[in-house]
Symmetry: D2
Subunit: 282 residues, 4 copies
Amino acid sequence: MPAQSLKMGLIGAGRIGRIHAEHLTSRIPSADLIMVADALGEAARECAERYAIPFATPDYRAVLDRSDIQAVVIGSSTDTHARIIEEAAQAGKHIFCEKPIALDLSSIDQALDAVERAGVQLQIGFNRRFDANYRRVRQAVAQGEIGQPHLLHIVSYDPDPPPIDYLKVSGGMFRDMTVHDFDMARFLIGSEVDTIFALGGTMIDPTIGALGDVDMAVILLHFTNGVIGTIENSRHAAYGYDQRVELLGHDGAIRTENNYPNAAIMSDGHSVRREPECGDYE
Amino acid sequence: MPAQSLKMGLIGAGRIGRIHAEHLTSRIPSADLIMVADALGEAARECAERYAIPFATPDYRAVLDRSDIQAVVIGSSTDTHARIIEEAAQAGKHIFCEKPIALDLSSIDQALDAVERAGVQLQIGFNRRFDANYRRVRQAVAQGEIGQPHLLHIVSYDPDPPPIDYLKVSGGMFRDMTVHDFDMARFLIGSEVDTIFALGGTMIDPTIGALGDVDMAVILLHFTNGVIGTIENSRHAAYGYDQRVELLGHDGAIRTENNYPNAAIMSDGHSVRREPECGDYE
Amino acid sequence: MPAQSLKMGLIGAGRIGRIHAEHLTSRIPSADLIMVADALGEAARECAERYAIPFATPDYRAVLDRSDIQAVVIGSSTDTHARIIEEAAQAGKHIFCEKPIALDLSSIDQALDAVERAGVQLQIGFNRRFDANYRRVRQAVAQGEIGQPHLLHIVSYDPDPPPIDYLKVSGGMFRDMTVHDFDMARFLIGSEVDTIFALGGTMIDPTIGALGDVDMAVILLHFTNGVIGTIENSRHAAYGYDQRVELLGHDGAIRTENNYPNAAIMSDGHSVRREPECGDYE
Amino acid sequence: MPAQSLKMGLIGAGRIGRIHAEHLTSRIPSADLIMVADALGEAARECAERYAIPFATPDYRAVLDRSDIQAVVIGSSTDTHARIIEEAAQAGKHIFCEKPIALDLSSIDQALDAVERAGVQLQIGFNRRFDANYRRVRQAVAQGEIGQPHLLHIVSYDPDPPPIDYLKVSGGMFRDMTVHDFDMARFLIGSEVDTIFALGGTMIDPTIGALGDVDMAVILLHFTNGVIGTIENSRHAAYGYDQRVELLGHDGAIRTENNYPNAAIMSDGHSVRREPECGDYE
C-alpha cells in the first residue's frame, strides 16, 4: 500500500457494495477502506471479514461520525441515497454515490445544495464515462475527428432482467437502465436534449408488463445542436451484455464493438466464430 | 448465348436504363435485349450502339407493339412508371419497373389492377432483397435462428446527396431513399407497420432544407407483431455507401457489415485499417 | 455482345474447360467462343450444346486450322500443354493455358521458344494475380506503403484432397498446388528465390503418402533481396478454401482475410459467428 | 489486504523488478512484499520507497536469510539466475524467476537439482501461458475442438530492438526472444520438437548483425507427433507488439488476434480503422 492513501468508509454491503469493497481493498492501492456499514449488521460483518475491513457497523452514521474518514462510497438502496448524500456532505466527507440520486427532482436538488454548501466532491456512478471505448468516442467528438456530429445510436442490452423484487422499486427501465444511456448521450454529444419520444414493449417477460414497466424500448432524442439520437434498450440479450455506440459525423463515423473474453477465432465447417461476452448485467 | 433466351425491351436509357442495358447484354446470358426506347431519341441510339442492341426508338410504344418482345424493363422517369406499366400489361408483357410505381396511391392501384387483369408478372426494383447480406438476415428470421424478433435497426446512408434537380422531383428523402428501407423492414420482419414516427433535419446541405426536404432522419416503426424498429438515413457518409441491419431476437441477434473492395488489412504506427467502400449512391 | 469481339477456340472440355466455356460465353462480352475441342468428342459436343458454341470437334488441330480464330484457351490435360502451346503459336494464335506448361524444364523452354518466335501473347492461368486481395498486397509493396519487405507468410489450404486419380498424374502437391504459391511469392515480393527448404508430412490421407506425395507442407524461402518467406500448404481445411497472405515490412504490415459468402454476424449464448467460405478446391 | 497473505522478497529492482514490485503491492492482495534487494543499493532504496516495501538491501542474501520470507521473485541479471535459484532453494524459499535460468545446460541442471532436493516450488516467467488468448488455443487443442493438430504458426514481433547493451549479453535473439515462442510451441502442441531449421537475417539494424546476431528469423519445427510448426520473429514491427498464433487441425482451425487499446472503429473517406496496440516490448 502506498504511503499516501485516502481513508474511506463504505455504506451498503449488498451486491454493489461488495464490488466496491473488493475494488477498494485490492485494486486501488491508494484507498484505505476502514469501515463498512449496512442496516443488516450481519451483512456488514461478513463484508468486513471477507475484505479485511477493520470496522463494521449497522449504522451508517457511525461512518459519518469518524473524523478520520475522508470519503464515503454510498451503495445502499436508492431511496436512501439523497438523505445520506446530504448528511455525508454536512459531515465534510467527499462522496461517491451509485446512481440515481433520487427518483424525484426536489430530493435531488436538496442533496446537490447540501454538497455545494459543504464544498465537498460528489461523483455519481456513471461508470461508462471511464470505459476505454466510450472515452475514445467522446475524444473523437471533442477533437473534431469526425466533424460535426449528425446521428447518434446507442445500443444497451442486459443479458437478463434483474430480479422482480428489484424491478418493483427500481423506478422502471428508463430510470434504472436507460439512465446510463441518457448520461452517455449527453456525455458523447456535449449538448442537451430538447425533444424526446419513446416506444416501449414487453416481449421478454409478461411479469414486467404486469408491473406497468416495459422490457424493451427505443428512445428518440433531439439535441439542441441538431443531432438526432436513438437509444435501444432490452432487458435480454442471449449473447450477454451488449453495450455499443455509433456516431455519424459530417467527416466520418466512429463506432465501438463489444469487448470479448479473448481474441481467439475458431473456424470449422459450421462457422468462423469467437466466444461471446459472458457478462452479468450491471 | 444460351439457346433458350427471353426477348426483352428496355424503356428509358438514362443512368439506370444504361445499367440495365449493360446487365442484360453482358451479365444475364438468358436475356436477349432487342430494343431500347427513350423519349430522347439520341439517348436511345447511343445506348443501342454501345450495347449492340438491334433496335432503338424514341417511342416506348414501339417496344410494346413488337409481338416478339416478351418482357420489358422500365427505367424511365418516375412520373411515367404507372402509365407504362398499365400499357405494358395490356400488351401482355412481363414487367420489371424501377421504384416507385407512383407517388400517389390511386395511380398505383390502377397500375396494379391492370397487371392483375393481364395476368403478367410485375417486379419492382427493390434490389436489396437479393443482396446476400439481407437475404441471410431474412433467412435467420424465417428459420427462427434468433427466436422471436424484438428490435430492428436499419442503417442506410448515401455517400452524397443526389443532384438538386433530382431532389426537386424525387418526392423527398422518405420517398426516394427511405422507400428501400421501408421495403427492407417489411421484408425482414414479415409483419406490417401500424405506427410510425419520424424526426428529420438538414445538417448536410441547406439547399435541401430550402426545398422543404430533410437530409437526415430517424424513423421509428412499430410492427403489428410487437417488433420495434428504427431506420437511420443520411444523405452523406464520408466513407461511402453504408447499408447495414441489426436484429435482436429472443434467442440471439444477427447483424450485417458492409462489403469492402478487398479484404486487405494494413497496420502501421497510426492504425490497423482497411479501405472503405467506394460506392456511389444507388 | 459488343460490336468488337475476339473470336476464340477452347481446347479441353473437362472440369476447367467448362468453367472457361461459361465465362467466355456469359461473363466476358468481348469474347466470341466459336469452337470447342476435346479428344472425347462427346464431351466437346455436350459443352457446345450447353454453352451455345457453334462448332465442336474431337481434334484440337481443327481449332488451330481455322483462320478466323484469333486466340485459344488450353484446358486439356497437363501432359498436352507444351505441345499444344507450340502448335498454337505456330498457327499464330494468342494463347491462354492452364498451369503448368509442363513438368520438365526442356519442354517448357521449347514451348516458350515457339511463342517468342511466333510473336503471340501467352498467359498462364495464375489466377490469383487478379484477385482483389493479392493485388492490393502487391500494390502496397510496389508503392512502398509498408516500406522494405522483411517477412512473407502465405497460407494456402484446399478444403479436401483432389481425387486420387488426379494425384497420380498431377506431379505431386508442390507442382499442382504450391505452384500457385510460388507464383504468388515471386509476384508479391518482386524478387527471385535463391534458397528453399521444405518439410512435408502426410497426416490427412495415408493413400497420398503411399503415392510418395505429401498432404501438408511448410516451405521456407529466402529471396535474393533478403526477404524470408514461408508457404503453408494443406490438402484439407474443414472450414473450406483458405487463401491468405501476411507481409511485414519496415514501416508496417499488410495481410488479407478470406472472402465470405455474406457479411452477416450472428450472436447467441454460444458464439459470435459468421458463415465459413464454402469453396470447392480450385 | 486479505488476512491470509504470502510474505515475499524481491531480488532485482531494475525494469522488470519494478514491474513485479508494482504487481505484488497493488494488484495481488494476497502477496505481502516485505523486502527488496538490488546490488545497486540506491535502486533497492528507491524501489522500496516508491512501492512502500518495508526493507531494502544491496545484498540478496539478506532476503534469503529472513526466515519470515516464504517466497522470492528473482528479476536480477540473467547471469545470476542459476546461482540465486540454487541458494534460494537451499534456504527453503519458493521461487519465481525470470527466464532464462541460464545460457548453458549444466548450470540449468544444477539449479533444477537444488530445487528438487529442497522440495520448493519453482516457476519460470513464461507469462504467455497465462494470456487469455494463448490459453484458449491450448484449451482447444487439449479438448480436441479442432481435431488432431497439423500446422502451427506463431507470429512474435517486438516493436523495436532492445538497447544494444542488452543485446550484447542477452545470448542473441533466439535465446532472449524466441525462447518465449519455443515455450509456446511446446505448450500449445503438447509434444516435443525433434527437428529444427532456422533462417535469419539482419534487415532492421546492421549494428545487430555486427554483434553476430540476427534481427528477424523464421524457425521451422517438426514435432514428434507429426505437427509442423513455424515461428516468425522480428525485432521491429511499426504498429507495435504483435503476438499471434494460428493452428490448423483436422476438424478446424483456431487463431488469435492481437489485443487493442479499445474497440472503437473509425470510418472516413480514407479508411476503416482502429488504433494499433501501443505496446512496449517485453
